[in-house]
Amino acid sequence: MVFRFPVKFAIPKHAHVNTRVLRDQHKRVQFAEHEVTRNALRYIARNTELQPRVRLEAQLQLSTMPAYTSYTTIKNRCVGTGKARSVLSDFKLNRTDFRNKARNGSIPGVKVASW
């Protein structure tokens, strides 16, 4: 079986795994790998005290870096279902999965609100 991404990474074991979650994990791994390079290029591109040509070259190099290395493409998905919408960051769960698990009693300290 050929691994579908250019660099191999460990598939998450404690989250719901689907194609989109794998793609997101690939982006996270690549972001962590290239973060220092990207930060250096961003710094050079944004520093107004450097020559414009140097800044332009840094910006061009940054734009040619693969899109999966950028932080903006990463999405915090639901850990229980893999959905990307309506994810509560405190629980890393989609709203429906949060409701199901909370009503089941699987989330400590969460009960139906009434006051």
């Binding site: 460990a10 998450p12 074991k13 404690h14 989250a15 979650v21 994990q25 996270r28 791994v29 972001f31 962590a32 790998e33 973060e35 220092v36 930060n39 961003r42 710094y43 050079i44 591109a45 944004r46 520093n47 107004t48 005290e49 932080y71 990463i74 915090n76 850990v79 890393k92």
Partner: protein
């Protein structure tokens, strides 16, 4: 008393003071607020935290790990057996997953 008020330090002296103070306390000094990308260098790296989002695989063993560690116990996952059973039943009724397109 009034002599103290008459001799307030000049703007240049105050600037020198601020510059010296920031060098002593290892702070940045940018009085004209020039955009020099310092905030990019100052920020911590986000990589490790971002990687941990879907959990660390080594934090807890899964059923598959136990199966590999103790093959003599012949552990059976009831959820997996149920899943395979209902898939087999659906296939009998001709309701299985459609064939994957090869092109």
């Amino acid at each position: 008393m009034s002599s103290i008020l008459r001799k307030l330090p000049t703007k240049e002296r105050l600037q020198q003071l601020k510059k010296l103070s920031s060098s002593i306390f290892s702070e940045t000094y940018n009085p004209t607020c020039k955009r020099n990308g310092g905030q990019i260098l100052k920020a911590e790296l986000k990589g490790p935290e971002v990687l941990k989002y879907y959990g660390e695989n080594s934090s807890m063993p899964t059923f598959k790990d136990f199966k590999n560690w103790f093959p003599e116990l012949k552990l059976v996952d009831p959820r997996e057996t149920h899943r395979l059973k209902y898939i087999a039943i659906r296939k009998l009724r001709n309701k299985g997953a459609p064939k994957k397109k090869s092109s």
